[in-house]
C-alpha cells in the first residue's frame, strides 16, 4: 500500500522584510515579499525522508493562501514533493487559525492521507497550534514537536523535546505530526528538481470544492477579532561605550544604578 503523506506548508512574509498589517488589520501579504516558511522546509524534508525510507509513498504539499503562495508549493515540488494542492478563494481572506484548520482538514480528507506532516509553527503567526487542531478535526493521534521521527509499519515514533522533559512518543497511523528545526537540515532543490517541478501537478481548489460555506471562514467567520494593531514604540537609543580597559566595571556601575546589583 502506498503511504499517503500530506505536508502542510505556509507562504509567509520574509522575516527580514518590513512585515506589517493591512488596513483591515490582517497580515499584509501583498506588498511584502513572501517565501515558503523556513520552519515548513523541515516538514517537507522529513516527509521526503519518510517517503524515501518507505519506498512506496506519495507526498502532497498543501497550502491555503492567495495566488502568490504558488511560490511556496513550487519550492516544495522542487525539493522533491510529488504533487501540490492549493486552496485559494477570496472568501478565505482573514481566516483565523481555527478556521484555517477547518479548510486544511477538508482538503486533507479529500486528498486522502496516512500521515500529515507540519512544521512546528509558522514564522509569521508563530502560534504552533495547527497540528493539534488538525488532529482534533481529523480524529487521529497527534505526535508533535518532534526532533526525531521514524515510521515503522503503521506506527510513528519520535522524540519530543518538551519544556520540562524529553518524551518518546508512539502513535498508530493515520496521524498528524509536527517536526522542529532540530529534525534535520532541509535539502536544497537541485537543478534537476527545479526542472522536474515544472511538470508536476498543482491542483487548485476553492471553498465550493471542499463543501465549505464562506460564512464558516474569513474575517467574519473568525472566532477572534483583532481590535487594534500598533507599532511598538522604538526603543530609546541607549548608551554605547567602547571598552578602554574599564568596560566591565563601567557596566557594573550601570547595572548598580538600575538596581540589578
Amino acid at each position: 500500500m502506498t503511504l499517503r503523506i500530506v505536508v502542510c506548508v505556509k507562504y509567509v512574509p520574509v522575516a527580514t522584510g518590513d512585515r506589517r498589517f493591512a488596513d483591515d488589520k490582517t497580515t499584509d501579504r501583498e506588498s511584502v515579499d513572501g517565501l515558503l516558511s523556513e520552519l515548513d522546509e523541515y516538514a517537507v524534508e522529513q516527509a521526503l525522508r519518510i517517503a524515501e525510507a518507505s519506498g512506496d509513498a506519495a507526498v502532497t504539499a498543501l497550502t491555503v493562501a492567495p495566488d502568490d503562495a504558488q511560490d511556496a508549493l513550487r519550492k516544495a515540488l522542487s525539493m522533491g514533493v510529488d504533487q501540490a494542492v492549493h486552496v485559494n478563494d477570496d472568501d478565505i481572506h482573514g481566516t483565523d487559525a481555527i478556521g484555517t484548520s477547518l479548510i486544511l482538514a477538508k482538503a486533507i480528507e479529500q486528498t486522502g492521507f496516512d500521515l500529515v506532516v507540519c512544521g512546528m509553527a509558522s514564522t509569521d503567526g508563530t502560534m504552533g497550534v495547527l497540528p493539534a487542531l488538525l488532529a482534533e478535526r481529523l480524529g487521529v493521534p497527534q505526535a508533535t514537536l518532534l526532533s526525531e521521527i521514524a515510521i515503522e509499519g503503521d506506527t510513528v515514533t519520535g522524540r519530543r523535546d518538551g519544556d520540562a522533559a524529553t518524551e518518546q512518543l508512539r502513535a498508530v497511523l493515520p496521524a498528524v505530526v509536527s517536526v522542529t528545526d532540530r529534525s534535520g537540515e532541509p535539502r536544497y532543490p537541485t537543478f534537476k528538481g527545479i526542472m522536474a517541478a515544472k511538470k508536476k501537478k498543482m491542483r487548485s481548489l476553492d471553498l465550493d470544492d471542499l463543501g465549505l460555506d464562506a460564512a464558516e471562514v474569513g474575517l467574519s467567520g473568525a472566532w477572534t477579532k483583532v481590535e487594534a494593531v500598533a507599532t511598538r514604540p522604538p526603543r530609546t537609543v541607549g548608551t554605547i561605550v567602547k571598552d578602554e580597559g574599564e568596560g566591565g566595571r563601567q557596566l557594573a556601575t550601570f547595572l548598580a544604578e538600575q538596581k540589578f546589583v
Binding site: T126, P141, T157, G162, A228, K242, G248
Partner: protein, 322 residues
C-alpha cells in the same frame, strides 16, 4: 464576575512560577479557579499554593492517563470541568504543550483562541489580550468573539502576588474520550536541573552567541550568570554549533524570554534571536563589532572583547554584592 479557569503548570511535584502569574492575572478578570491535573500525591500541596495565590476553587483530577498519553487527556479534563463550571475564560501557560491543549479545547468548545498573550485586561466584551508580534515590532490587541475565551499567556507577562483565597478542593473524575489514548508517552526524561533559574521564568538572563567561540567560552557567561543569580541563554548559532544545549536556546524556535534584564554576549542580533528577547525590559550587549544590529536594541552597549569584559564585570558584581 465569573470563574476564570487556570490550568496549573507543574513539574516534579511543584507548581511552576508561570502558574502563579496566571492566577495573579486571573484575579483581574474574575474569580480564579485552578485546575490541577495528574499531580499525584503532590496535588494537595499544589492546590494549597494555588489557594494562596487567589484560587477560590481548585479542581483536582488524577489518573495515569495524564502521564501516559499526550495532550488529549488534559483536553478531556478541561472540557469536562469547563462544561460544568461555565467559566468566563480559560487561561493556560504559553508552552508548546500548553498551546496545543488550549487549541484543542477551544475547538471542542466552539470557542475563539488567542495564544502568546503578553497582557490580558478586562474589557466590556470579555478579556482583551495583547500580543507582541513580528519579532516584537507590533503590539496587537484582540478579543474572542465566540464561546468561552481560551487564552494562553507567556511566562513573565505579569508578576505574581499572593492573595489568599479559599482554595476549596473539588475532586473530579474525568471520563476520558476514545482519542485520549491516541499518542502514548513511552518514556519521559525530566530535564536535568542546572541549579540556575528557569530560562523563561528568570528575572535576569545572560546569553552567549557566536562570539563565545566554543563550548569552553560559555564558562565566562555562566560565571556572570551565577554572580547575578541569572539563567543562561544561547543564540541559535551557538546551539547549532553544539556549544550549548538546545533547551537554553533563546529565539523564535527556542525560548521566548521577557526578563527584567537581558545581557547578550557575542550575539549579533539576527531577527531569529530578536524574536525571542526583544520584549526584555532592559537590554545590555557586549560585542566586538560596533556595527552589530543588537546595538540598535540596547539600553547599554559595550563594544569590546567579552573575554576581557565579562570576567571584570563578574568580579565587580561579586565585590558589590559582598
Amino acid at each position: 464576575m465569573g470563574e476564570i479557569l487556570v490550568l496549573v503548570d507543574h513539574a516534579g511535584g511543584r507548581i511552576r512560577k508561570p502558574a502563579l502569574e496566571l492566577l495573579t492575572l486571573a484575579r483581574r478578570l474574575g474569580t480564579p479557579a485552578a485546575v490541577v491535573l495528574g499531580a499525584g500525591e503532590s496535588a494537595a500541596a499544589i492546590a494549597a499554593t494555588a489557594g494562596e495565590y487567589g484560587a477560590a476553587k481548585v479542581y483536582v483530577a488524577d489518573a495515569s492517563e495524564f502521564a501516559d498519553y499526550l495532550v488529549v487527556p488534559k483536553v478531556d479534563a478541561l472540557a469536562q470541568i469547563a462544561q460544568a463550571a461555565s467559566p468566563a475564560a480559560v487561561l493556560v501557560t504559553s508552552t508548546g504543550e500548553g498551546k496545543e491543549v488550549a487549541a484543542r479545547l477551544a475547538l471542542r468548545m466552539g470557542s475563539g483562541l488567542i495564544t502568546d498573550a503578553v497582557d490580558v485586561a478586562p474589557g466590556d466584551a470579555g478579556p482583551v489580550a495583547a500580543q507582541s508580534v513580528f519579532a516584537a515590532s507590533y503590539t496587537v490587541t484582540s478579543t474572542v468573539t465566540r464561546g468561552i475565551p481560551v487564552i494562553t499567556v507567556k511566562p513573565n507577562a505579569t508578576g505574581s502576588e499572593a492573595a489568599p483565597a479559599a482554595g476549596q478542593v473539588e475532586q473530579v473524575t474525568v471520563a476520558f474520550s476514545e482519542a485520549a489514548a491516541g499518542t502514548r508517552v513511552v518514556s519521559r526524561t525530566p530535564r536535568a536541573s542546572s541549579g540556575r533559574p528557569e530560562l523563561t521564568d528568570a528575572e535576569i538572563v545572560v546569553s552567549g552567541g557566536r562570539g563565545v567561540a566554543g563550548p569552553g567560552g560559555f564558562s565566562v557567561v555562566e560565571e556572570l550568570a551565577d554572580a547575578l543569580d541569572a539563567a543562561v541563554g544561547a543564540s541559535r548559532a551557538a546551539v547549532d554549533a553544539g556549544w550549548y544545549p538546545h533547551t537554553n536556546q533563546v529565539g523564535q524556535t527556542g525560548k521566548q524570554v521577557s526578563p527584567q534584564l537581558y545581557i547578550a554576549n557575542g550575539i549579533s542580533g539576527a531577527i531569529q534571536h530578536r524574536a525571542g528577547m526583544q520584549t526584555s525590559k532592559t537590554i545590555v550587549a557586549v560585542n566586538k563589532d560596533p556595527e552589530a544590529p543588537i546595538f540598535d536594541l540596547v539600553d547599554y552597549g559595550l563594544v569590546g572583547d567579552l573575554f576581557e569584559v565579562l570576567p571584570q564585570l563578574t568580579a565587580e558584581v561579586k565585590a558589590r554584592k559582598a
